[in-house]
Subunit: 367 residues, 2 copies
């Protein structure tokens, strides 16, 4: 088991990464002094529940915890106000009080939903992340929780740090291949924004990562979490630096939105977004090798880096205008400077985005 500390003053918390950790949940909860007198709410989805819910419930109960579980339908649609309301109902009916923990057992969607419930139930209760996807190595660190508004993704949310993150890598073995690829997209992103050596390592270990080799994967996840934790520690509420984590997200979120949160997985959308950001940087004078290397790295994982022909340019631009990163009428973009280094620029013109959308449509078919 590897332990990584996210350093946020009195909101600091540990991330435990390793094999078999679901079987130690009760002990770890107790070690962190989560109340045994107050019911624990486990939020999960109907893909994860049949695989791991019973084991987690029984493990917590064996340690003296009372548990209440709420299973939501898998997929981004669980991040709606309606589902949020249903989870709140389960929390109230289950008798949760201010010391109750809300547990997210699942991927990023469940983490965001359960985290927003934890942030707002009785104005905030303890929160525990138990990620079961690769993508969640990213979303489980940093305290950003949110649900979607029909007009824009993650528009309703909060900053709510977990008490701990319990990352059992055994749960990743049941992931569909497409989700494995998409999950590794955020891992590559952490290399691209912060650590050229780690980016290169991702390139050299692509096959081992895709095959979920335990040692390789544990190292990659620990590095990814560690980079994210370093950034978040320096800027918890995204006043400056933290925005670099949004590499690829301005366009990525727009693609997810116009695809109805169904066509693209998050990791696929930001993969296209990262390729687009590199191309904007190249059009502004950066070496074309920066774009080529970005595309090579992402492509190695089977991730898309071209813009599907059928996506309407106007709709992409329109969706971007609703994004949180559209600040005071300026388009804010994270652009690469070199592999492992990015900058935040706030003067990207809509025309520059239109240009790369067109260029990326010519690069070839959607992978």
């Amino acid at each position: 088991m590897r332990t990584l500390q996210v350093d946020l003053g009195d909101r600091s918390y540990p991330i435990y990464i390793g094999s078999g950790l679901l079987n130690e949940a009760g002990l770890i909860f107790a070690k962190h002094q989560l109340s045994k007198k107050s019911p624990v709410l486990i939020v999960t989805d109907d893909h994860v529940a049949p695989l791991y819910l019973k084991r987690v419930e029984e493990n917590l109960q064996a340690e003296g915890y009372r548990t209440v579980s709420k299973v939501v339908k898998a997929g981004e649609k669980a991040k709606s106000l309606d589902v949020f309301h249903d989870v709140m109902t389960a929390a109230i009916e289950g008798g949760l009080d201010r010391r109750s923990a809300v547990v997210a057992l699942g991927g990023g969607v469940v983490g965001d939903l359960a985290g927003f419930v934890a942030a707002t139930y009785m104005r905030g209760v303890p929160f525990v992340q138990m990620p079961t996807t690769i993508l969640a190595h990213d979303s489980s660190v940093g305290g950003k929780v949110a649900i979607n508004h029909p007009l824009a993704k993650n528009m309703i949310g909060a900053f709510h740090q977990p008490e701990l993150v319990l990352y059992d890598v055994d749960t990743l073995r049941t992931l569909p291949e497409r989700e494995i690829r998409a999950g590794l997209s955020e891992m590559v992103k952490h290399g691209l924004i912060w650590d050229a050596e780690f980016a290169a390592w991702c390139g050299e270990n692509t096959d081992r990562l895709l095959a979920l080799d335990p040692e390789t994967l544990s190292y990659g996840l620990t590095m990814g979490c560690s980079i994210k934790a370093q950034v978040v520690s320096q800027d918890e509420r995204e006043l400056g630096l933290r925005a670099i984590l949004n590499l690829g997200h301005t366009i990525g979120h727009a693609l997810e939105a116009i695809g109805g949160y169904g066509e693209f997985l998050h990791g696929e959308a930001i993969s296209i977004g990262m390729a687009a950001s590199a191309l904007i940087a190249v059009n502004r004078g950066a070496d074309r090798a920066l774009y080529a290397e970005t595309v090579r790295l992402l492509g190695g994982f089977g991730l898309p880096t071209v813009m599907p022909e059928h996506l309407d340019e106007e709709r992409i631009i329109g969706a971007m205008m609703h994004d949180k990163k559209f600040k005071e009428q300026q388009l804010v973009f994270v652009l690469p400077v070199a592999i492992g280094q990015v900058e935040i620029v706030s003067d990207v013109k809509v025309e520059e985005v239109r240009r790369v959308i067109r260029e990326l449509k010519k690069e070839g078919p959607h992978v």
Copy 2:
């Protein structure tokens, strides 16, 4: 104009109390560096809008602010997830960004709703309170914001401190008499929990307060806000001391809930709750004069202090069980020790509550 500082470290903020302040909104916003590049969202209700909305919009616009307004139906039902969703839609369609301020122009309901929007829109944007009721002297201080779940009041919320509170006492002149009485209930509460001298002053100035004598009212509101601010400064997130502000609220919230948030105004419900708390204290050995004086003070303002016959005991108890103050299977109550002093006890038995419900039903008809 009186200015009162709420001392909360880097979340400190001022409360401006005085006459004609709506006409200085733009200047005060600018002084507090609220962004003029980002649209401001004014949330108000259909009682307040015809009286003050245009004036606030024009005043802000004259100072260079762009404004977007959302008018909700007056009443507690505005604190629903549906209305919350509608206000979020207005915020998104109005193009609010992370620097936009959300303004609550109205009473406690509008303050709670708009405050929860400010707390969660894009994970938190600046918030300004412009209270137009007496009751809001209480709710506008302290950063508690929330909406209701059908099963329980204020169940979904956050702590989100405003940038400033702008309290124009001229707006109180348009309040219905019943709301004036109910609003003064929280003012009396501040005396009862913290300051015997101020409680006595409320008793001596009952008529002047009910007549909205400007000087008397300004002093009373400043004292009420000041007591609340002192308590909140010592315990922002209600880990201990702050709970004393809940005097009368355990039973009060239950009465509001079973009345469908329609039968009682908040101030009326907590008036009955304060009488009940005093009676529990008496039944536990306190001097009966404590109960008599509490009832005399509240009754002087025309506030109810007996339990209406038609309210079902089981439903009151049932509603209390869903309350946030029901912690780890114990009933937590704020009980008076003397006028101006309370204690938090966590061992109140359900039977003690049943007893005072019955006793208060015999005390006479509902005022």
